[in-house]
């Protein structure tokens, strides 16, 4: 073979090898950068949600400890008014009733922002209380299947689970037109298994693109990414909606 041709042949072989190595390295760096951006996104979501929770906690405390006692004092003062006029008595009674309503509303808002039951009684009781309070008055029949949860479940994670259920219940109330709702929380194979089901009108998941996806579903996905959990959502028109969350226990430790 001609020397020059041999050189070109060698050059091509070496160039190809070089190109292959460079391509492999390029793909590796792309994958690495991609996983970095995913990690950054997750970090951002965690910060956002934690900030949201902190702010909720602060507002709930302000409402409960700041506004509550002031309203109670106002009510006491109004009730202590001494009058013999019938018309004044009616006004005082009305004002007192309005104040009661305002206090109830504030208590409810404060409770929704940061449920006291979650802190005092734990996740299962808090969920029971919330679901019954939200669904039963609307004529939805509720069924609970709760088993013992691991004791080392952190408060932060409990709040995430609570918020997820809150989101599902709100969706059920707003859109599902359901008659029955059931929830199951259990521990299986190193996972906390959260399952919910309703018999409502359901929705077509395939028709929901990113633009039309409601905020509730996005919130669920964000919280899932924080908890490293799998979310399965089965729904079809007139066949109800079913959620399954597999939350790995190790992420709680």
């Amino acid at each position: 073979m001609d020397d020059s041709l041999q050189e070109v042949y060698n050059a091509i072989v070496i160039s190809l090898l070089f190109l292959i190595l460079v391509t492999i390295y390029f793909i590796t760096t792309l994958v690495r950068q991609h996983s970095r951006i995913n990690a950054l996104q997750k970090e951002r979501i965690i910060i956002e949600i934690n900030t949201l929770e902190l702010e909720r906690k602060r507002i709930a405390a302000e409402l409960h400890d700041g506004l509550g006692p002031i309203l109670s004092t106002i009510k006491l003062n109004i009730n202590s008014l001494d009058t013999e006029l019938n018309s004044d008595l009616i006004i005082i009674t009305k004002a007192s009733k309005y104040l009661d309503d305002v206090m109830d509303n504030i208590r409810e808002i404060s409770y929704n922002l940061m449920p006291v039951a979650l802190v005092r009684k734990g996740l299962c009781e808090a969920l029971k209380e919330f679901i019954e309070k939200s669904l039963s008055p609307n004529g939805i029949q509720v069924r609970f299947f709760f088993t013992q949860l691991p004791k080392d479940l952190s408060r932060e994670k409990e709040i995430h689970i609570y918020r997820m259920v809150q989101e599902i219940v709100n969706n059920c109330l707003k859109h599902a037109k359901a008659k029955k709702f059931s929830i199951k929380i259990s521990t299986e194979k190193g996972n906390v298994l959260l399952q919910t089901e309703d018999d409502g009108i359901g929705f077509n998941k395939d028709e929901m693109d990113d633009k039309h996806r409601c905020l509730g579903l996005k919130n669920l996905e964000s919280r899932c990414s924080i908890l490293d959990c799998n979310m399965i959502c089965n729904s079809a028109i007139n066949k109800g909606t079913r959620y399954i969350f597999e939350i790995p226990l190790k992420s709680f430790n």
Binding site: E7, V8, I14, S15, F18, Y25, T29, L30, Q33
Partner: protein
């Protein structure tokens, strides 16, 4: 005719150098190392031609090129966020390479003789770093890639230094003896790559955003 075209190709470093001259005053401090890199490359190119014409030996400039290219490109990549503020990696790369360069040029050989190992070493490092920079700017930056100056600069560096690294591999493989025909082919490929790189550098400089002072007015 071919020779003339190649000479013009080799002069192409002055295209980004002229753009850099005009844009330097308003440049962002983050882009300064890239400007220095362009200025030094153009300056060394002039020196290269001068030494070739006067002393018939310009190897000293080629040897210095290997060091300056690596130092300034690594610093430019660092200021563009490639190492995520991990300054120690920059110190390590520059430090290790400088020691290697000094050993090869001042202890084992001479700065006036051809010393390929530093060149290959620096080319491989720059190639790997520019690949990292390309993928980072493709994924992290929200700009379109052809308007992303970091991407364009890294692509330019990748083209040139991967070509140098590949040619050096042939050089080692054939024990530095090439036939005239093959040598010509390599020269042409290198000059074309050089031209493409310089045009990409020029484009990158054009897209660079000028420094804006923070003002409340």
């Amino acid at each position: 005719m071919k020779r003339f075209i190649l000479i013009y190709f080799s002069l192409s470093i002055f295209i980004p150098a002229i753009i850099a001259l005009f844009k330097f005053k308003k440049s962002d401090y983050k882009d300064r190392f890239f400007y220095y890199f362009i200025f030094i490359s153009a300056g060394l190119d002039i020196l290269l031609r001068y030494l070739k014409a006067v002393y018939k030996n310009n190897l000293v400039v080629f040897n210095i090129f290997a060091l300056t290219d690596l130092v300034f490109l690594v610093l430019a990549f660092y200021t563009w966020g490639l190492f995520q503020k991990k300054k120690h990696i920059v110190y390590w790369i520059i430090g290790v390479f400088s020691v290697f360069w000094i050993i090869e040029h001042l202890i084992l050989s001479s700065v006036l003789r051809p010393n390929p190992y530093s060149r290959v070493f620096s080319s491989i490092i720059i190639t790997l770093l520019s690949i990292n920079m390309i993928s980072k700017s493709l994924i992290m930056d929200k700009q379109v890639f052809y308007k992303n100056y970091k991407f364009l600069a890294a692509l330019g560096a990748f083209l040139l230094y991967s070509n140098i690294a590949a040619i050096s591999f042939f050089w080692f493989n054939t024990n530095a003896i090439f036939t005239g025909k093959f040598q010509n082919l390599l020269n042409i490929s290198q000059e074309i790559t050089n031209l493409c790189t310089n045009l990409l550098y020029a484009l990158a400089l054009l897209w660079m955003i000028p420094y804006r002072k923070f003002t409340m007015q």
